[in-house]
């Protein structure tokens, strides 16, 4: 099991419990608002915070939240609100890139296991079992040990640790689709294996990946910021949420806002991703 598989199981339960489209719950509305805010902040940070995220102002150091500095300022007088907004781009980029890496690797492994017969399936399953013995961040830490810390190694490391979870879900989905009646019918109609895979099996396997991807982006952002927090990802003074939280650790007693607000955004992002993933799952039409 991986965190992703747990998440996927949970959101599937959501669908079974409440069939049909249903109305938008307040929780979901809030998640959409958070997601929109993140997208705007990621694409056009200047719109929400015109200041410079790295601009220092020693006179304003350690300022508590005020009208001029909504989230307060840090040890060099940098505006935390500006940094949080500008950090959204970095975090979203890391989240999407890591998910793409994990999903891509998982897709290759899962498809190979599900399509190429029992021997390959057995081998891939053993490989996944071995990878699952590096729980959570362990695989990422091993990767960073080899390639050194940094934003991009952290991103690849997070994607790599998520890949086994994706692979196992995709494999299961693929096998379920292969056994379904419409694929059997297509086989009887004389479709070539290639047509079967491209026209029937893959599209039906890929649809659930939207849910997985949404859940995965939230998780990847949290993991990447954890690595930055530990000093293995983005390095200060970069405006990255995990690195900002880590920088605020030293001033916890005197300037709680330095840690609190970057952390709050991470939590909001993670919750929004979970709620959105489940909302998509609940409304999905696929089998």
């Amino acid at each position: 099991m991986s965190e992703l598989e747990v998440q996927a199981t949970l959101s599937r339960g959501e669908r079974e419990r409440r069939r049909g489209r249903g109305r938008v719950t307040p929780f979901e509305l809030l998640a959409v608002v958070v997601a929109l805010f993140l997208l705007v902040a990621g694409l056009m940070p200047g719109l929400l915070a015109p200041g410079d995220p790295l601009g220092i102002d020693p006179n304003a150091a350690f300022g508590p939240p005020s009208a001029a500095h909504w989230f307060g300022t840090d040890e060099s007088g940098r505006d935390i609100w500006t940094r949080v907004v500008h950090g959204a781009g970095t975090s979203l980029l890391i989240g999407f890139a890591a998910t793409a890496i994990g999903l891509g690797l998982g897709l290759v492994l899962g498809t190979v296991a599900g399509m190429l017969g029992p021997v390959v399936d057995f081998s891939v399953n053993r490989l996944l079992e071995v990878l699952f013995a590096f729980p959570g961040l362990l695989l990422a830490l091993l990767f960073i040990l080899i390639f050194g810390p940094g934003v991009w190694t952290a991103t690849v490391a997070v994607g790599l640790s998520a890949a086994p979870g994706y692979a196992r879900i995709i494999r299961g989905q693929l096998i379920a689709v292969r056994r379904s009646a419409f694929v059997e019918a297509a086989t009887v109609l004389g479709r070539t294996p290639r047509q079967l895979l491209v026209r029937h099996i893959l599209p039906n396997t890929l649809a659930p990946l939207f849910v997985l991807g949404t859940l995965g982006v939230g998780q990847a952002i949290v993991w990447a910021s954890a690595l930055s927090y530990l000093g293995l990802g983005a390095q200060p003074p970069a405006a990255e949420w995990g690195a900002m939280l880590s920088a605020g650790r030293t001033y916890l007693t005197t300037a709680w806002w330095m840690s609190f607000f970057p952390g709050l955004v991470i939590v909001l992002t993670a919750v929004a991703a979970t709620v959105l993933g489940r909302a998509i799952e609940r409304r999905a039409r696929y089998a």
Partner: protein, 332 residues
Amino acid sequence: MRTRTSSTPAIVGSPARRDRVRRVLRHPVLVHSAGGVFVLWAVATLTFFAVRLIPGDPAQAVLGGPGSQASPEALAAVRAEYGFDQPLFVQYLRELGRLATGDLGRSYALNMDVAPLLLAQLGGTLTLALLSLAVAWLLALALATWSTQGGRAARAFGSGLEITAAALPHFWLATALIIVFSTGLGLLPPISVPGPVGLILPVLTLAVPLAGFLGQIMRESFEAALESPFVLSARARGEGELGIRFVHVLRHAALPAVNLSGWAFGSLISGAVVVETIFARPGLGRTLLNAVTVRDVPVVIGVVLIVALAYIVMTLATDLAGAALDPRGKRA
């Protein structure tokens, strides 16, 4: 995942004896242990070859990295001592031989043997992880019992609470707990002091997000079990709602959560890296992080192997516990 041997080796002897031997060979504990040994070997092999990808001379790393300007003689001595001058395959076999005898090698940075170093750290991390697992179970159980008794509002509240708890990153929760309970109220120490008081905040940090995950799973199976015929008949007999939950429903509801505990344990160990660092608590996680930061390869490999071993044992334990709770899966 359950591995099953499809072919049994040829066994000589009377049919009855053969039957007995076959039953022993197919015993879940044995099958799982064989699978576990395979995974351990694969983990050791994977890490051995993966760390060879580290750019630079390993002898240089032993002597403190490229900045240390070690003399060629010292480098040659280290190469001979650690066997870096041997062919890769010989190094690999030697490493496997060492690992099989429980020798994890020598730390580059700390100048001491890895096995005793990690053994000293193991207890703290295991205490933290197992205690957190227990607290998470209790929290999840309390929430599931409570929220399935109330109406729709209680359910929605419980579900929202669980989703939020599950999404809390350890490093933020730890920071928030320190802000509230240490700097704010002054009740608990911000760093982990020896003894039970120092364990409260670290355990809460690890337990709350996990309780969010377990709680969702439990509530789901609670609700399914509450609609089953045996609950209806228990109600018809006049048993109380709380009694029904603890006597009849719990066994069914706990099953999926028990099956998840292997995963949960793994995620707790990985969470321990963060928590031990924040609360300055000695343990495997903090040792691992330090070793990754200074590229102390033998220590990292040692931690990875120990975690893999703990994970395998925990998975075996949850599989057996699941089988004991649910006799339906037992083969005649």
